[in-house]
Amino acid sequence: MEQHGNVSNNMLSKRLIYLVEVDILVFLLLVSGIGVGVALWENYHPHISRTAALPTVQITTPLITPPVKDPEMTTWLSSDGKAELQMQTVFYRDDSKTYRFYVRDIATDKKKEIFTNAVISSKTMEIPFNSWSPDNSYIFLEEIRDGSKRYLVVKSSGEPFAQGEQSLDVLVLFNKQNTGYTLNEVTGWADPTLLILTTKTPKGEEGPSYWFDVSGGEFIQLSTRF
């Protein structure tokens, strides 16, 4: 009897050990499966951080009206034919325009943007015949509104003037002189830095001519009328 009891105990122990081994194996398989599943999930789905808040992106409508037609290009050679001034006009739906000016070196074909001017619908810009200074250092441009002209001087290198200005407004600077005359016309260059100005008296008669020295910003009244 006692021997029979010992045999039964041994069989029970072996059964228990077997069951425990199976449970451990199932547990390990289950854990491995979950691990592989999580790894696959992470791999195939974009990682989203659950701790950081997403930034808010605000989409706004652009303020600049898109151009309504292809830009126009006007070119003008310097007197010696060594450089070319290019004026690109971009037209917008509200009739405003942006003028971009470039200088191209004829020998090297290198082009540089030197000046940009955005104008309202009633204004236009033109390159005058005598735009280039004789040594090609400066350029003067005309801005026209209702027949009256404003004259802008820029450096052909695109560099600013001494006070940091990108352009000099001849009309504004002349009016500050309080000469008693009104600016009639800028005709051209007397030398590499001297612009020739004609004026009118308050009665509308022909006034004296001036030189405007663009390098020093001075106006010089002349005894000769141009």
Partner: protein
């Protein structure tokens, strides 16, 4: 026995010497002004003194500094060895250059075709004389000087110069068409009698006009006469009809 005469010297006071000095000064000034007047009366106006000679040849001075309107001017450098006379294909038709002084515009026609139209600067300190002329010499570059006082000028390397003349305004008057590097005020009188143009326009005209360019100095000949140049107070152009008002 000879008795020596006493050495008598006339008594001359200070007033005598002052009077004599004034007289000498007066006579000197009289002769100076009289001579200047006679020279002025016998000489005709010369558009530029250096060019007012009948024998000219190309003159390049790359290191010289010019003067115009009291301002120093640096002339463009010219390297003749790097240039070749431009030979353009000939079109048909007679060549004729018109200068309209009222609009400061130059027209170059060949037959009925307009070859070039551009703004020029004619005489301001001395008028460009109207009339029909012929080009008698073409110079790739020359020096021009003249004027007086504040209007004096001295300009080396004046490019693409075409001197013209007629029976009234002779070769020694020195009037020409040429490029101008010292100013950029075309469309307005700005010269001492010549016809100034942008350098690129002068170059185009120089290469086109007769006599055909054979060297840096080209004279017109009987077989290759110079192009006709009409300087007009005003020009009316109607289609193929051109009327020059002198």
């Amino acid at each position: 026995m000879m008795v020596p005469l006493p050495n008598k010297k006339p008594q001359r006071d200070t007033g005598f010497y002052i009077k004599r000095s004034f007289l000498a000064l007066f006579v000197g000034l009289f002769f100076f002004f009289a001579t200047s007047f006679v020279i002025q009366q016998t000489q005709s106006f010369c558009a530029n003194s250096i060019s007012c000679i009948k024998d000219l040849s190309v003159n390049v001075e790359n290191n010289a500094v010019g003067v115009f309107e009291g301002q120093k001017v640096v002339p463009p450098k010219i390297t003749l060895s790097q240039e070749k006379p431009s030979v353009k294909p000939e079109r048909a038709g007679e060549k004729h250059i018109y200068v309209d002084l009222s609009s400061q515009t130059l027209y170059a026609f060949q037959g009925d075709s307009l070859v070039l139209k551009t703004l020029i600067s004619s005489g301001k300190w001395h008028p460009t004389p109207t009339g029909d002329y012929h080009i008698w010499i073409k110079l790739r570059a020359t020096r021009m000087s003249g004027g007086t006082g504040a209007d004096a000028y001295d300009l080396p390397n004046v490019p693409y110069t075409m001197f013209f003349y007629n029976d009234e305004v002779g070769k020694d008057a020195g009037f020409s068409l040429h490029g101008a590097y010292w100013h950029n005020n075309f469309g307005h009188p700005m010269s001492h009698g010549c016809v100034n143009m942008r350098i690129i326009d002068a170059q185009a005209l120089y290469n086109w006009a007769d006599p055909p360019t054979t060297d840096y100095t080209t004279y017109a000949t009987d077989t290759h006469p110079g192009t006709l140049v009409s300087v007009c107070s005003k020009i009316t152009i109607n289609g193929t009809t051109r009327e020059c008002i002198e």
